[in-house]
Symmetry: C2
Subunit: 193 residues, 2 copies
DNA sequence: GTCTATAATTCGATAGAC
DNA sequence: GTCTATCGAATTATAGAC
């Protein structure tokens, strides 16, 4: 049953995501979050106990990956990259997680879980050997999180300048290889004109 | 001319790199850095003015990339990846930069400069069109910084478990393609068995 | 050069009136 | 549920004795 305070709670979480994403865990103050939500700081404590609890609630995140089980194997990389690029711009949660992960172990745990539970199965479905799924999901993480880091946190100009189609064209073959390539196959494919 | 206090300054910088790398900019306190350097906290202030100045001094970083001008074009990715993997384990500076970049704009500037000034020329030398060098260096940054993030900061188990040879085998073709591939060439090369 | 003492902030968290 | 007032802790930074 919806509580009367649900609107307030939602406003707090939205403000928290915004501040955590923009400033990181340490610099985002409860006072600033409360101000942005136009609410009293003590309400935040009342609802979420402490700053860590607030972050945990704000950093709830699902990739909502589509079912790639029926996708043509050759298009898995492309579809996964497309979904990632789209998902990041829906809200600030992943950027907040990324920024907070530097000092908050709970943020790291969340990111770990996302790739293990949400990307892992995709890797298990498409890897030559399902036992390699964790390693392949990890490699996907290095590229996708690295892209998000450079684009949204570090704001490296050449990376920010890429539009989504360009970014997808560069990243999709990488992800495709991490998910499906046999070790050392195609290791030098890129060299051929 | 070397000052008498140079040994002290070096000890402070080494301790600073260690604490910044382990805890990030906010959580690494001047007190803790001074304690690790076995020196009085006020000395740190005396030498470096403030925490920001200390960080700037500690985050001086050079990749020391070898000259890849004479390298076989097909091996540029492999060599660059090998050098990166080796360089990270020499000291904590890059990890410190990565951790601090979340809240310190000066750390971001440093990272930007590293890729623009140190990786950019490699890209300019080997890209089909030198005008694309910044974009290609940026793509290299997404993968190499993403790998460092997952391995040293987030410590994702499957990524930590890779030994250097395995990591290089996976990453080298990616970097090779970002540096040298014509757009859309080899986009589906990884699909072939 | 080195250390003590402390100023000046800032923030998370709590107590309690209404 | 909401707000005021404030505590207590931690930190950067400074002033000044030795």
């Amino acid at each position: 049953m919806p509580r009367r305070s649900d609107a307030t709670r939602a406003a707090i979480l939205a403000a928290a995501r915004e501040r955590f994403a923009a400033d990181g865990f340490e610099r985002a103050t409860i006072r600033a979050i409360a101000a942005e939500a136009r609410i009293d700081p003590s309400m935040v404590m009342r609802y979420y106990g402490n700053k860590e609890g607030l972050f945990a609630a704000a950093a709830e995140f699902h990739l909502h990956l589509p079912d790639l089980g029926e996708a043509p194997p050759a298009e898995v990389g492309e579809r996964l990259v497309g979904h990632f690029l789209h998902r990041w711009e829906q809200d600030d949660t992943l950027v907040a997680l990324l920024r907070a992960a530097v000092t908050q172990e709970s943020a790291v745990d969340r990111i770990r879980a996302i790739f293990a539970e949400q990307v892992g199965p995709v890797a298990a479905r498409h890897a030559p050997d399902p036992a390699e799924a964790p390693a392949r999901a990890g490699l996907v993480a290095t590229q996708m999180l690295g892209f998000a880091l450079c684009r949204y946190v570090l704001r490296l100009q050449p990376v920010v300048a890429l539009d989504k189609a360009e970014a997808a064209a560069w990243l999709a073959p990488t992800i495709q290889r991490y998910l499906t390539a046999t070790v050392n196959s195609d290791a030098s494919a890129a060299d051929r004109p």
